[in-house]
């Protein structure tokens, strides 16, 4: 095994470049080094001006998403040796405006998130103790509660690229996380946004969101399930006379 690997890193400094350019760096190739370790090596020892986000380096904070050799991944959980002998191409996440180097603007998601009301909605006062929930009921939504908001799914989804108004995979999965929670009563409140044209109906089930998801959330499944729910609802509305509803 060679002991270095070339990383081609996309650089974009507003005011300096009109569009991203690639800069190559040679970094040591070590068995346990993630792509993020390579970037940290560059930043600490070669070029302090390289900008990117990271924090937990254990795949749970969701800040280090990047495009590595064309695929959206968590750079702290993707290893350099998997790309040996290289070069490794590191670019910012696709489908988001690039702020600087590998940093993208996820403001769009942050603005959309509250619109699907991802919080527990109840009309009544909470009980003295806990709401009871069996392990089976927990399993009904557990998968969808694993989202770390890393945005890999948005980066993978071509529909989001083409139609930025699309609410998008993670936000819909989070809405489903609450819709399917036995303690929640807010499904009706979420329906307007979810079943709008920019909601689930914009998704053509490309499925790349679920392929990209590092936490097994399966947003594509969440969306597809909601389509079924929404369609059943619409059918009922359509078939039943107004008074009977």
């Amino acid at each position: 095994m060679a002991d270095t690997i070339t990383m081609q890193v996309a650089r974009y400094r507003p005011g300096q470049e009109a569009e991203p350019v690639f800069q190559s760096y040679d970094v040591p190739l070590r068995k346990e080094w993630a792509v993020l370790d390579g970037l940290n090596h560059i930043k600490d020892h070669v070029d302090g001006t390289l900008s990117y986000r990271w924090s937990c380096r254990m795949g749970i904070c969701g800040s280090c998403g990047m495009t590595v050799n064309g695929s959206p991944v968590l750079s702290c959980a993707t290893f350099l040796t998997d790309y040996a002998p290289g070069p490794v191409r590191v670019e910012p996440l696709r489908n988001f405006p690039v702020v600087r180097d590998l940093v993208v603007d996820i403001g769009d998601f942050m603005a959309k998130l509250p619109s699907v009301k991802p919080w527990l909605i109840r009309d009544d006062e909470p009980p003295e103790g806990e709401y009871l929930q069996t392990p089976d009921e927990l399993d009904d939504y557990k998968k969808f509660s694993m989202c770390i908001n890393c945005m890999l799914c948005y980066s993978a989804c071509p529909v989001y690229a083409l139609d930025p108004a699309f609410v998008g995979p993670a936000a819909i999965a989070l809405a489903q996380r609450y819709n399917l929670d036995s303690r929640d009563e807010g499904a009706a409140d979420r329906r307007d946004v979810l079943s709008s044209a920019e909601g689930v109906w914009a998704c053509t089930f490309v499925g790349e969101c679920s392929t990209a998801c590092p936490k097994g959330v399966d947003p594509a499944g969440a969306i597809q399930r909601y389509k079924l729910t929404a369609a059943t609802h619409a059918l009922k509305d359509f078939l039943l006379p107004r008074g009977a509803r």
Binding site: D44, H45, L120
Partner: protein, 585 residues
């Protein structure tokens, strides 16, 4: 430019978000801002795995949780604070349940609890082994429903605005634009988390650089018990990724290189096939980490390129238990170590994990400065004493986050003091100061050569590991203090190559390093002064606990020349006089 909010919370982790909700609930007319250098859901609370302790079942009692906490903290715990803590923890965790936290459940639908190190009863609530993740996201999503909570995401706070001993807001850099902004407020709550990055090998995220401790320290608030740094006994070599204590609570064993459960040699009980509470692998973290050092001295650890290790054995638990209770452990091991804990041993070593010390506060989260509050890991309310028990920290964030929020809300509702002209002048100055600071570091031509931020940081971390590690003595600490003085001087020559305003992470790293140097120094000074061994602070030159002289909290204040001045305040003891810490017997 400046904006105004009644209360500013610095930090969007467990403590910060809980505090913000508490402010909004206490008085809906108040506006509250959450300023955080990362998006709130990226805060380090997200990495907490094991669980959150609160008395839950009928077979447990507040008394027992209180006693475990006090003895676990080697009696350096303020018993009134700990009492408030154990009393309010269950309610707080229950509130989180009402907000949707997916706690793991028993068959009948009630909350499940698990065992944890140093706890006599099973009282640790958990959401599989992603407890912090679920708690943080639940809190974050709950704040989304509250329009009174205004967020300033990716704003880096650089200093507090202080006028005449009262705090009136913060100065911050908006990272996306590089603009220096001020947020004026009647009260500030610091919830910036810990400072593990002061050490080389830590479970802590990149963002845990002790900013809030340094902010308060510089503003004149004393830091308390800074010498107590917790090493967690089971971190993965190289990455420092934590293998949660829950792995041992579910029945994991620690083995030395001969496959021997070595903890039995360190007065931690006798090995049994099934886990026994407060015994062996379920002893407290300080004792387990210390045992590792002794094993190493006896040559019974295994050497690896990343230092000596022992092994954590989960194989006998079987795939089913591991997948149900410890799925993240399995995921982390396979991802970062390429091993499957169902079939293989996990290499582990002690790793810096948690800061018992912090900004000194009373039991309402109030600091010594008017208008300044602190909660979470940044604060030292003194419920953790000389050694925090696993799973006490998450509920601490909630209990004291809520208390600080309420106290701050009351304070701003009842006082009329408005920020004077001096504050606004300071706000204007702050911008110029920061610009000048950067210009200085950005200048290429320094007398005495240029210094890289990363080099200074690495040397600081090494100095801390060597001088103020699991075992320390007067000599090692003095040497560390020297090194730090030296590094501070070199810091003046540190250069920033990045001149861009947009998302300048090099500038952030520079500011963080300056914060860390302050924090490191406060740790070393405090440790030098405490001539005894207690909990996580083990002096080889003073091996015994000395209640005569040191049953007291250390308080370190910053002197004008940048040094630290240490004095002591008494520990509040209401029920339990200091006793012997007994585990496994």
């Amino acid at each position: 430019m400046s904006t105004f909010h009644n209360v500013v919370v610095v930090g969007g982790g467990g403590a910060g978000l809980r505090a913000a909700i508490a402010v909004a609930e206490a008085n809906p007319r108040l506006t509250v801002a959450v300023v955080s250098k990362v998006y709130p859901m990226r805060s380090h609370t997200v990495s907490a795995e094991g669980g959150a302790a609160a008395v839950a079942g009928p077979d447990d009692s507040l008394e027992e949780h209180l006693y475990d906490t006090i003895s676990g903290g080697d009696w350096l715990v303020d018993q009134d604070a700990a009492e408030a803590f154990v009393q309010e923890a269950p309610r707080e965790l229950l509130r989180l349940e009402h907000w949707g936290c997916p706690w793991s459940r028993q068959r009948d639908g009630r909350i499940a609890v698990r065992a944890f190190g140093g706890m006599k009863k099973k009282r640790t609530w958990f959401a599989a082994d992603k407890t912090g993740f679920h708690m943080l996201h639940t809190l974050f999503q709950t704040t989304l429903s509250n329009p009174d909570v205004v967020r300033y995401d990716e704003w880096f706070v650089t200093s507090l605005l202080v006028d005449d001993g009262q705090v009136y807001g913060v100065v911050a850099i908006e990272l996306a634009t590089g603009r220096v902004e001020t947020v004026i407020a009647n009260a500030v709550i610091l919830c910036t988390g810990g400072c593990g990055r002061v050490f080389p090998f830590t479970t802590n995220a990149n963002i845990k650089t002790g900013d809030g401790m340094a902010l308060a320290y510089r503003a004149g608030a004393p830091l308390k018990d800074m010498e107590f740094v917790q090493y967690h006994p089971t971190g993965l070599p190289f990455t420092g990724i934590l293998i949660t204590e829950a792995a041992r609570a579910e029945g994991g064993w620690l083995l030395n290189k001969d496959g021997y459960r070595y903890l039995q040699d360190y007065d931690l009980g006798t090995p049994t096939p099934h886990p026994v509470l407060r015994s062996m692998e379920l002893g407290p973290r300080d004792r387990l980490s210390q045992a590792f050092v002794h094993e190493h001295d006896k040559g019974r650890t295994t050497d690896t390129p990343y230092g000596p290790i022992v092994h954590l054995d989960l194989r006998h638990l079987g795939a089913e238990v591991i997948d149900a209770k410890l799925p993240f452990v399995r995921e982390l091991c396979s991802k970062y170590e390429n091993i499957d804990p169902v079939k293989e041993l996990i290499p582990v070593r002690p790793v810096v994990h948690y800061m018992m010390g912090g900004v000194h506060t009373d039991i309402h989260g109030a600091t010594s400065l008017t208008g300044l509050y602190a909660a979470g890991e940044v604060a030292c309310v003194s419920i953790n004493g000389a050694n925090r028990l696993g799973s006490n920290s998450l509920p601490e964030c909630l209990v004291f986050g809520a208390r600080a929020g309420q106290a701050a809300a009351e304070f701003v509702t009842s006082t009329r003091t408005a920020p004077g002209a001096a504050v606004y002048a300071q706000a204007r100055d702050a911008q110029r100061l920061l610009e000048r600071e950067f210009a200085r570091h950005a200048e290429g031509s320094h007398i005495g050569g240029r210094e890289r931020i990363a080099d200074i940081r690495t040397e600081m971390q090494t100095a801390m590991e060597n001088g103020a590690g699991i075992y320390r003595d007067g000599e090692s600490l003095a040497k560390a203090a020297d090194r730090l003085r030296d590094l501070r001087e070199r810091f003046g020559r540190a250069t920033v190559d990045d001149r861009s305003r947009t998302f300048n992470t090099e500038a952030v790293a520079l500011l963080e390093l300056s914060f860390m140097l302050d924090v490191a120094e406060s740790i070393v000074v405090s440790a030098l002064h405490r001539g005894e061994s207690r909990g996580a602070h083990q002096r080889t030159d003073f091996p015994g606990r000395d209640d005569e002289r040191f049953l007291a909290h250390s308080l370190v204040r910053r002197t004008p020349d940048g040094g630290g001045l240490v004095d002591y305040m008494p520990v509040k003891i209401t029920q339990w006089p200091p006793g012997e810490r007994v585990y496994g017997r």
